[in-house]
Amino acid sequence: MAEVILENICKTYGNNFRAIDRLNLSVEDGEFLILVGPSGCGKSTALRMIAGLEDVTSGSLRIGGTDVVDMPPKDRDIAMVFQSYALYPHMTVFENIAFSMRLAGKPKAERKKRVDEIAKTLQLTSLLDSKPANLSGGQRQRVAMGRAMVREPAAFLMDEPLSNLDAKLRVQMRAEITSLQKQLGVTTIYVTHDQTEAMTMGDRVAVLKGGVLQQVDTPKRLYESPVNAFVAGFIGSPSMNLFEGTLTGNELTAGAFAIRLQDAAFMRRPGLRSYAGRKIVFGIRPEHLYDSSLESGRKYQTLPARVTSIEELGSEHIVHLKIDAVRVDSGDPDAVEDFGLASNAVAKFEPESAVRSGSEIRLALDDTKLHFFDPETHLAI
């Protein structure tokens, strides 16, 4: 058990490309920390630096109080689960799990005892003699976990360990890994690009973009109080709707409509008043937009919108809309929402909603759930 502390970690490649820029992160003993961000944001590089598979250009890195920057991977007391699992195809499950013990010259009886214990925890006992090729994706994943557990490391490092699994299995393994981590209490750093994994698995989530740490916080705080427009857009699915507007008194004007803001909104954000008469970026999550013809949407103010398309998911409707406002890009290169000319907003309606594609509707909006960002810096106000 140990805490992992990164101080001003930088990684610059030969072509002067800066993959990680002054990363400061402190992971507490036993904590489950998620590193998340769009592809190419440096999250895997950061993890590989902690593992010792990439050199650290500058900065200090301590695991359990020891500076490990110049240590080879094996001396760092960490174990890693790879995206590909990296199971040796010519070895059985037993041999794969026992590999590190064999290298360390542990006697056979001790190896067997330890592997049997782990196999029991991971429900792999009946598979110990199988080769990885004969296992399902979920079983391979568990063997990879077993190989990490056998070393009883100070920290687990996991590099997108679920991305090779199908959607259903991923949900199951998500829960399994989370409960296993709680049970073992080992400090864990987990890299993913999947924000559902980020939101559901970790104690805290660190959001990276372009090698720069944006925010480290609990999933709830990230969702409720993103520090900037990028985090706001990245966390949550579908993404937060971000628009340009102008603040005049208590009124937020965008295109042809205006939203009245309550005094409470200004009390909570002392800086907001200073934007009076100026441009501002405002955001609202799809789940805080309502169908005004339903009970849930009656109490809110409305604005005109045209429905461009609807995805009926059974439990909810994802409604793509066109409203008279200029959309702002959050800066997430992986954003899945395709905003062409047709639509510029997304809302989550209850399945009872009867809106039809192509119809003009009144869109209800919970103004207490609005987020405000500076138009230049994109920082939260």
Partner: protein, 298 residues
């Protein structure tokens, strides 16, 4: 459809594939099967080819070659020549492939080495034989270097002395043949996922442990199939030995192929030569079956 029509249709369907295959089957039959059968039949005839009215000889020719000490010597030489060649082809090929695949060697140097290492492959057997005859001449470069280094006191007649001739031809063949292993193993090395080595690094594997536990097991299918093929090919090597030593001196480099050739074209004993050829065929067949079984098992 009437039953008759249907059966005619069925017959057509059954025959069609063989019709498509018939040109290649015919060519294989003419070029491979026919000569083989002819040689086998010669081995059971008296004065095969030489006389039109040759009579059945039974196992006489086989008994004759099995009673010939030169046959046994050439069988032993063939085995030595082949086993040493395959083992060293693999060892050298593996070392060079590991070098060419290593990040520790400067990329420019690696590209130069890649070209140098593959050079022996560009030469035909005749040229290789000539090169080594010149190099290993009593007054050649090799002797001169070894004497300069003080490793030998007097000039050695590598190809002309019965003690060294077999080792010398084997050496020349090793030099000529390792690039196949090198290229195949290099391709295999490049196919091993990097993750395997990174996982092993984290688990604390040393370089030799990574070689034993990851690299070699991962290359095993290539090692086995190329070794078997090399064994089959090397057993039949003729031009290299024929041009360097001709099987001599005093049969010291006689291998099955030169032994057979001499029986046929020096002694004109084509029946015994056929018997000897059949023995080579049987050994090769055994190895080929082993290779096919291995390929099927994969």
């Amino acid at each position: 459809m009437t039953r008759q029509k249907r059966s005619r249709h069925g017959l057509k369907r059954a025959v069609a594939p063989y019709l498509y295959l018939s040109p290649s089957l015919l060519i294989i039959g003419l070029l491979m099967l026919l000569p083989m059968v002819t040689v086998i039949s010669y081995s059971f005839q008296n004065s095969a080819v030489l006389r039109l009215d040759s009579s059945f000889a039974g196992l006489k020719h086989y008994q004759a070659i099995f009673a010939d000490p030169v046959f046994w010597a050439s069988l032993w030489h063939t085995l030595y020549f082949t086993c040493m060649s395959v083992v060293f082809h693999m060892t050298i090929g593996m070392i060079f492939a590991l070098m060419l695949n290593s990040d520790r060697i400067n990329p420019t140097l690696r590209n130069i080495l890649r070209v140098l290492y593959i050079l022996p492959w560009l030469f035909t057997a005749v040229i290789i034989a000539v090169i080594w005859r010149l190099l290993l001449e009593p007054n050649g470069v090799v002797n001169s270097i070894l004497m300069q280094l003080g490793l030998i006191g007097s000039k050695i007649e590598w190809f002309s002395s019965p003690e060294t001739a077999l080792h010398a031809v084997t050496f020349a063949n090793i030099w000529a043949g390792y690039p196949l292993f090198m290229v195949s193993l290099l391709a295999g090395l490049q196919g091993i996922p990097k993750d395997f080595y990174e996982a092993a690094d984290i688990d604390g594997a040393k370089a030799y442990q990574k070689l034993i536990f990851i690299t070699i097991p991962q290359l095993m299918p290539i090692i086995i199939s190329i070794s078997l093929l090399d064994f089959i090919w090397t057993m039949q090597v003729f031009p290299l030995i024929w041009i360097t030593t001709g099987g001599g001196p005093i049969y010291s480099t006689e291998v099955l192929s030169t032994y057979t050739y001499k029986l046929a074209f020096s002694s004109y004993n084509l029946s015994q030569a056929s018997a000897s050829a059949v023995v080579i065929l049987l050994i090769s067949l055994g190895l080929t079956l082993l290779y096919i079984r291995y390929q099927k098992a994969r």
